[in-house]
């Protein structure tokens, strides 16, 4: 197995929002998607994921609904709300600025 990277503090919310921006997913689906997109470099700890989901639901960034999966199992699907989308844009923007600044410092130092 490839070496796993720990998630940078505070980035999980942004990643989840990003994944959900492509369409609704259940918790397990989010885990899979993150692993898949990061080419298994990122391992999402369920112990962080679910509290994060509930927190974001609480803040109104995402909404949840019970639905049936393709295999006819009941699962809770999350979708992005309008405020969630706005939050994603903001987070993406500040992430870009932050990485640019860090890169600048790292290169010029």
């Amino acid at each position: 197995m490839a070496k796993k990277e720990d998630l940078l503090q505070g980035t999980l919310d942004m990643l989840v929002l990003r994944v959900l921006s492509r369409g609704e997913l259940h918790g397990w689906g989010i885990t899979l998607k993150l692993e898949q997109l990061s080419k298994s470099a990122l391992q999402v700890d369920e112990g962080s994921l679910y509290p994060a989901l509930y927190r974001m639901e609480e803040k109104g960034w995402i909404e949840a609904e019970w639905k049936m999966t393709e295999n006819n199992r009941r699962a809770k699907y999350y979708t992005l709300t309008r405020t969630g989308r706005k939050q994603l844009e903001e987070a993406t923007g500040s992430w870009d600025r932050m990485t640019a600044i860090i890169a600048l410092v790292m290169e010029s130092a």
Binding site: H26, G27, W28, T31, D45, E46, G47, Y50, P51, A52, L53, Y54, R55, E57, E58, W66, R73, R74, A75, K76
Partner: protein
Amino acid sequence: MNPLRQLFHRRKIEADMAEEMRFHLEQRMADQVADGLPPEEASFAAQRKFGNLASIQEQAREGRGWRWLGNFLRDLHLSGRSLLKSPGFTFLAILTLALGIGANTAMFSVLNTLLLKPLPYPDREQLDRIYRATPQNPDGNLAPADFLDLRRAQDGYGELAAYTAGDTSLAEPGRPAEMAYAARSTANLFALIGARPQLGRDFRPGEDTPGRDHVVILSRRAWLNRFGGRTDIIGRSIRVDGEPHQVIGVMPAAFNDWRSLGAIDFFRPLALSPVEAADRLSTVLRVVGRRAPARSPAETGGFIASFGARQAAAYPEANAESSWRAVPLQITAGGRGSLTVVPMLIGLSGFVLLIACSNLANLLLARTMARAREFAVRAALGASRTQLLRPLIAEALVLSLAAGVGALLAAQWFGDYLTVRSTGDNGEQVHFLLDWHVAGWALAASLGTALAFGLAPALFALRLDLNHTLKSGGRGTTGGRGHQRFRQALIIGQFALAMSLLAGAGLFIRGVYDLNNRRGGWESEHLLTGTILLPSAGYSDAEKITAFQRLALQRLTALPGVGSASLAAFTPFFSWPDSRKFLVEGRDRPPPGHEPAAVVNAVSPEYFDTVGTRILAGRAFNARDLAAAGQVFILGQGTARALFGSDNPVGRRLALAGDGKSQWGEIVGVVADVQPAAAETDSTVNQVYLPLAQEPRRSNEILVRTTGTATAPVADAIRATMAELDPDLPVRKLQTADTAINRANYQLGVLRDMLTTFALLGLGLASIGIYGVIARTMAQRTGEFAIRLALGASVPDITRLVLASGVKLALAGSLIGLLGAFGISRILAANFPGIHTSGNAILAGSTLLLVAVALVACWIPARRAGRVDVMTVLRAE
């Protein structure tokens, strides 16, 4: 998600969370089985990966808002359960608090009903009572002539109305006449305050002129009680004061809220005769005003004050010593004295509550200390301060909320009791209602006590010395010096408060007892009294009145069982409201209005004989002291001394000042002073007697000394005689003097009972408190006692030690409480100058009682301490 929904659908949410995670787990397992792992291993791996399910759920929960409320409710739930596990403690704590809060809430409901409840009149903030204060009476009323002057100038104020209240005879065809409490009011009174009859119509303008005034508006109470609530009463004729009057309206029940009007049975227009309209001396008119909306209270208040000053300058003989003021009507709603007495009662019930609270603090502290080790362990395991505090606060909250409910029940019961106890003679009642204000007060009191007194043990828990508590294996719970001192301070405080209550109540009980048994200057045995009122119709002039009085006295004296009968304006045992000013012949005339004053009574010749007032010098009045003969006076001893010092006043001459005639009359006698059994007036006023024949009046007191002890048949005979003389003549309150005194002071009795209740509550609660603290301290000092006993101390030594520690606290508290008792007696003395509220015996007795209670409360733990089994205790060390 809606946080409230979250709160109430918690089970559903938890289930959802579990299902979601189970789904996740199964998916991962399936994934790994697909990767080739054996199913059991996959299950293990998945669970390992997932970590502790419960902990994730916990974290997830923390992620939700309103968590604190959820936690809080759980804390309440838990503390409720833990309280149920120690029912003895819980019962005691709730009972203690419920009594404390209940007493306080009940008093608040009295305040609420009497003073706070808005009067049911529109724009009531514009309404004022107008008082004419004199040195004798700060809430005095206006004389008709002064009122008319004021009304002519009313544009400086707004609009004014007046009424006067008094006994009136009420007769219906075929029924014996009754006496009713009636008012004569200006026609605009109801319109001015904004009250409308519920039935019929209001007075019409101009109906308050002589000749047009034969109309009556009934109070709802009189309408129901006397006329059966019949609607066809409107338009019917009833006999008032011997003349037919037409009933035109019935006032609604809400009228009772303003006690001054609430006591009145019916209203007639105030039609002043020319003589009455010119009267500047009879201050009988109660004046109500509605400020013009454009004027400020300061403006109108200033106007009234300066108008009063103008009247004092223009008519000094009547108004020199008076000052006028306007008081918001709402403040006067509760009647006289309620402004100071009711807040005092709230304060005293607050004392009871404080005692209850410090009991609660003690109980909770003891409970917390018993769990000190548990707290230390939890703190050592990393529980945060909030986590430690929350259950403690929750417990206090549960206790006090339960107590709050109990308190409301207690207050309701007490309110009903008060309503019954304070019912007036004519069925007038005050209903002490529990409205939202009262419920809010109870809630605030509960929450306040929970916070204030739940916090003490909580703070103690915070300051726990972890190391020490854990090392000492649970014996570190003696609480150290600081806590000991804190609890002793609580006990001293309790006893101080209990002492204030007890001594205050004791002084008042004594004062009321003395008042009800005060017979200074007259004798009450076998004395019957009753009031008669001659209807104005048949007794329009002095001659007719005097003729009737002579006839009535003849008939009364001839009745079997009557030893002596007389008539007087007032009884010897109630204060005489008629105050006049005098000039002494041969002395310089004082500035008008500043002449010496005395209260006067007009009496028939046999009066002094009938009531048993001793004649000290000169003679009593006799049958020759008639209207046509020269004016004569008899002085009370105090008046004689005040005016003439040690000189003999008999033969000297006086004149009534202010009536314009200044006709000199001779002093024919001096009699002993009588002390009125009335709480509101100081008994040491100057008294002067006039012959009834020279002061004819339509309202008279019958005074009859019976020869035997059976007064009932004589009373029946008196009633029959009066009805025979005139069917329109009601005899009111024909009863023995003793009964009359007790009945008249019934409101004092209610107040006395309240004070007594508070004192007993305070005493009981304080004794529970000292018992609890001493018992606990003793339990903690068992080891010490065992050692003392082992070293040769005797059992009585130990008992004495324990008793002494309790008595010291009680004594210290009682001494501090003397200050409070002194304060209470001062407040009572200021409100009831007729009651003597002092007595060292009461103070000493209260102190002894408290110490005795402390002794008894400490006795049980002291005995237990003496019976310590030395070997067992020392081995356990």
